[in-house]
């Protein structure tokens, strides 16, 4: 069953721009321009795209913050802008750069207030809070005012705030921004567990592609308010990021090796990086070529970096090379 549905959704913004000394002209900006997709219950979807692509606008349309200019939006079967309050009880949202918690209250007091705002039954609240405290290790700062928390602590608090009422769908906007590796990992594990154990559907907006690699089974890529990719990570790599890299460690430093249907992208002492397209050659053939030229000690194959893949998609579209639906 689809928990998120968009059909031919548009959202325009009218911007008044200075044109000449006194005249101001009306410019219509199409932030979301004929967007359509569906997300099934239990999916973790990565929603990515360059700045200004319309990601935040989409999330705001799905949470009932913005009213669509045209088209049909449904989240858990409700029309977000018209049924905002019933919807709010069933979804959670977290905006990484915004503080939802009460700035000058202890973290626990914020949770208590949310319990009453969402009318969470006492028993369920106690059970959820106990679990989140354990998994996210909140106890050391549970009684600290939010303004005194570190970023990592605050983000953990914000995530709990978005999940206390057992939402069916959560929208997370940059949940790991500014966190260190350990904190990022903790947040990701928490989200994976919530998805597996509670069946929470997650829609993740992020610039951190490691988030996507660790969490998402499906990726939606948005550009200029339109969907340019919808599919899995592997398919995305196969299609755009054909290049893998063979990293070889030689016994002794050497000049760049000569390889057919591939190229050496970097040489660092005895280590060399060889990029290749798997359609044209393969790691075994390259390894044989290398071994014929120098004494080989070790080798590894690196998958294409998702970041490169996405960068290539944007570049391709900007050059006007892609058609509308790639």
């Amino acid at each position: 069953m689809a928990v998120i549905e968009l059909a031919d959704v548009h959202r325009d913004f009218v911007v008044r721009r200075k044109a000449g000394r006194l005249r101001r002209e009306r410019v219509v900006v199409k932030a979301v321009d004929g967007l359509g997709f569906a997300v099934e219950r239990g999916e973790i979807v990565g929603y990515i795209g360059p700045n200004g692509a319309g990601k935040s606008t989409t999330v705001k349309l799905l949470t009932g913050i913005l009213v669509p200019s045209a088209g049909r939006v449904r989240v858990v079967g409700l029309d977000p802008s018209r049924q905002r309050i019933p919807l709010a009880r069933r979804i959670g949202a977290m905006f990484g750069q915004r503080v939802q918690l009460w700035w000058d209250l202890p973290l626990l007091d914020s949770f208590e207030l949310l319990r009453h705002i969402y009318r969470i039954p006492g028993e369920r609240y106690a059970r959820n809070l106990a679990e989140f405290r354990r998994v996210l290790e909140l106890d050391p700062f549970l009684h600290t005012p939010v303004r005194q928390l570190s970023l990592g602590q605050r983000i953990r608090g914000e995530i709990v705030a978005a999940m206390l009422h057992d939402p069916e769908v959560v929208f997370l906007d940059e949940p790991t921004i500014g966190l260190d590796i350990v904190a990022k990992q903790r947040v990701r594990e928490f989200l994976l567990a919530a998805n597996r154990q509670r069946g929470v559907t997650v829609m993740l907006t992020t610039h951190d592609l490691a988030d996507i690699e660790r969490l998402c089974s499906r990726i939606l890529i948005l550009d200029h308010g339109r969907l340019v990719y919808d599919g899995g990570l592997e398919a995305l790599r196969a299609r755009y990021g054909g290049e893998r890299t063979l990293v070889v460690d030689l016994e002794e430093p050497a000049a760049a090796l000569r390889v057919t249907d591939a190229r050496v992208t970097r040489v660092d002492g005895p280590r060399q990086w060889i990029a290749f397209d798997r359609e044209r050659t393969n790691a075994a053939r390259l390894a044989a070529e290398v071994a014929a030229q120098a004494a080989l000690r070790d080798l590894t194959v690196e998958e294409p970096d998702i970041e490169d893949v996405v960068r290539r998609i944007y570049a391709e579209r900007q050059a006007g090379a892609g058609d509308d639906r790639l």
Binding site: N51, K55, T63, L66, A88, I91, L105, Y118
Partner: protein
């Protein structure tokens, strides 16, 4: 009914949390309340200055104007305590903070006005109440059942009217973020106008304040009724008794304007 009680309970919790936070800085809080209280007396001094030059204002004596002032300022101070946070609303709209309000399962207006309850606003209430009690003591009002009823309903009705004007006026920021000054003209300007007898205003302004923005029902008509003054526009004197009905209608209108205006919210950024 259960809904209403639940809402009241939550209001208590949210304002309680704000008060606890404000009381963390006790000295600063005490000075704030005291400052508010003293400043509002300066406000009343303006009226005394006027009366040191003229014996009457539009046919109203100093005690009668004090009654007007007391009703207008007490109800305004109560409205300020309840929804004064709306003054910060343009900022909330500009930086997109209103987003967070909209993702929570409660009325958006309710959340905005409870966002930062300021207990220091009680200073003004104390001052206005003092002036009102003083004026009632100085005046020889002939008490009838109707006048007693007027005395009971006038403050709640006037508070609801000010709240409605405040809510309706601030909605302008959904269209233009620079709308704050315009909104202030209605709220603070309205409070100023209601402190004086309407007899001194031009006919068009009086009519505007009765039929369009019904501020006449805040202090002027109730006070005229208590004092048995003839209504200068030739309207029946019992008109003041209708203030609860006018207040209810204004509240419904303001709620409806807010509901429509929220759909024009543009958030911030892409």
């Amino acid at each position: 009914m259960a809904e209403l009680l639940d809402g009241l309970g939550l209001w208590g919790r949210l304002t309680g949390a704000r008060i606890r936070a404000q009381l963390q800085y006790r000295t600063s809080f005490t000075l704030d309340v005291l400052g508010n209280f003293l400043l509002s007396f300066l406000d009343f001094a303006v009226i005394l200055v006027i009366f040191s030059n003229v014996p009457q204002l539009g046919g109203w004596s100093v005690a009668e104007v004090a009654l007007l002032y007391g009703i207008a300022c007490l109800s305004f101070a109560l409205a300020d305590l309840l929804v004064g946070e709306l003054d910060q609303f343009p900022q909330l709209v500009r930086d997109g903070g209103f987003d967070l309000v909209l993702i929570r399962p409660r009325g958006s207006l309710f959340q905005v006005v409870t966002a930062n309850f300021q207990l220091r606003r009680v200073g003004k209430i104390v001052q206005a109440l003092a002036v009102l009690v003083l004026a009632l003591g100085l005046l020889d009002i002939v008490w009838t059942l109707e006048r007693a009823a007027m005395l009971v309903v006038m403050i709640p009705a006037a508070t609801v009217l000010f709240v409605s004007v405040w809510v309706a006026a601030i909605c302008i920021v959904f269209w233009t973020v620079e709308g704050r000054e315009t909104a202030n003209a209605f709220t603070y300007g309205g409070n100023f106008l209601t402190q004086f007898p309407f007899d001194i205003y031009d006919r068009w302004l009086r009519q505007l304040l009765i039929y369009v923005v019904p501020l006449a029902f805040i202090s002027y008509l109730p006070a005229a009724f208590l004092l048995g003054k003839p209504e200068p526009l030739g309207l029946p004197s019992w008109l003041g008794l209708l203030s609860p009905l006018v207040a209810a209608a204004a509240a419904l209108a303001a709620g409806s304007i807010w509901g429509r205006a929220v759909r024009h919210y543009r958030s911030a950024g892409g």
